[in-house]
Every structure is written in structure tokens, then in C-alpha cells.
Symmetry: C2
Subunit: 120 residues, 2 copies
DNA sequence: TAAGCTGGTCACAAAAAAGTGACTACTGTT
DNA sequence: AACAGTAGTCACTTTTTTGTGACCAGCTTA
């Protein structure tokens, strides 16, 4: 069953529907405990699978592989396999992934405001 | 057990830690299937409980009450009870909640880019 | 030869999130 | 008197997400 996230009985105007859809899409793409951090780390420099397990404490290989796969399927990151021995893999942001960086940046800005507001 | 989301054995520099923390805070505050939409609807105009159940198709009263409560506890929205009869309740954004609107806006911008990228 | 590195997959268990339906208590309408 | 609307709460079930530990195959180092 499709999730429209708006009421089909009293259909909102199309510009409202568009805002709801675009917001929900971004939310879904970022849904996952490690995804925002993964995108941010990969934006700093291309990252390898093993390096990400070291950067993120407590992440399991299973969920790391799964969330990387989902980010790849959503077109945010790409995977490059180097056939050197021992072989290695590098994850980098796609253009679409780069375009997501403003979202990460404003999230960080707001997080700092939140911390400030709690320290008063 | 606290979730630092960074590696305590090889502690990253403090400016990196700060970015990780602020990003994770914002992520946690927005975590919940309906929260971004709730914030957006409330930013359009003060909203009542019943109106929100009508705007959001399929949301249950239980989860709506829970997510509103969490947003209130996090200081993003405030609840005003009017003692008229029949009594009514209105939810509005706090200052901190208003400051979150840029996050919602860039999420919507990116969602539109994502839709465009998929239509090619 | 054994252990450690590379980057994973898989089945299962645990935890977290979300949904369901009944119930509350008050007022206004029919 | 019965039903609708106000805004919820509560116990329970279902669904989704995350974590756990074993396993794989090829290579390097001690």
C-alpha cells in the first residue's frame, strides 16, 4: 500500500502535495541510524568499508553493509572497486549526494543551536 | 549506555566531535515517521489535535499524541489549552522550532531535486 | 601454519517504533 | 436518550530496524 502521507478524501492543493512528497522523500532517504553520519564522513574524503567500521563505534557489519547499499540504490553514493591485491573498495558521493550536503550542514547548525538552548 | 557515535579509543578532534554530536542531535529530534510533517503543518498555522489527525491520513491517535509530546519535550512546539467549552488545544512552534524551518526547507528542496533526477 | 587483513553474507535474536481498538469524561445537538 | 465532537490514555499486537556471531575466500605477515 502506497504511503501518500496526505488525505486522499480531502485532497490538498497540488503545491501542498508537492511539499509533503518532497519532504517525505528526503526523510525516507535519510532514515537509518547511521546514514547522516555516513554521508558526512564520505563527504570529508572517500571512505572504505573497514575505515567506516572504525569511525563508527558499535556499528555492525551487517547494518553498515545494508545502509551503504540503500544509499547506493538511492543514488547518493557510489562504490568503486580497486582490483589491486589486497583488493579495496571506496565509497564516494554522487552529484545527487553532494547536493544533500546543505541538508547535513543546516542540521549541524541547528544541533548547535539546540545545545546552546539547553545550556542556559 | 550513552551513544557517542564516535570512537572513544581513537578520539577524533573536538571540532569533529562537535559536528558528529550536532548532526546526531538533529537526527534524533526529527526521528519519527510523522515529525517533519507535523512541524511543517504547525509552521503553516497553529494546529489542533483533531485537525492533525485529519491532515495526516492513517496516523493513529496514540502515535500522534506520542510524537507531539516528544516534540514538546524537545522544546520545538508548545501546547496551549483554551478553556472555552468545548475546550480546545492548539499547537504552535517555539522559537527553537521556528529555527528548525531551514532544515525542513532544504529537505524539501532536495526532495524536488531527487524527483527530477529520477524522471530523466 | 596460524593469525590478521580485505569486504562482505546470512540466519537469528533483540529492541524500537508504529498501529489497533477500547475506554474516559465533558458538552452540544437531535 | 443517544450520538458526535473535544483531546486524549492504555494495553496489546504487529512491523520495522538494528545488533550478534558465524562463516566465506584470497592475500600477507610472523
Amino acid at each position: 500500500m502506497a504511503k501518500f502521507n496526505f488525505n486522499l478524501d480531502t485532497l490538498p492543493p497540488s503545491e501542498i502535495r508537492e511539499e509533503i512528497c518532497s519532504l517525505t522523500i528526503t526523510q525516507n532517504v535519510l532514515q537509518g541510524r547511521w546514514k547522516p553520519l555516513l554521508i558526512w564522513y564520505i563527504s570529508l574524503q572517500p571512505q572504505r568499508f573497514g575505515e567506516l567500521t572504525r569511525l563508527l563505534p558499535g556499528i555492525s557489519k551487517g547494518i553498515l553493509a545494508k545502509q551503504l547499499k540503500e544509499l547506493e540504490d538511492d543514488g547518493l553514493i557510489q562504490k568503486e572497486i580497486f582490483d589491486e591485491l589486497p583488493f579495496k573498495v571506496e565509497y564516494t558521493l554522487t552529484d545527487l549526494g553532494e547536493q544533500l550536503l546543505p541538508v547535513i550542514a543546516v542540521m549541524q547548525d541547528w544541533g548547535k543551536k539546540y545545545i546552546d538552548s539547553r545550556q542556559k
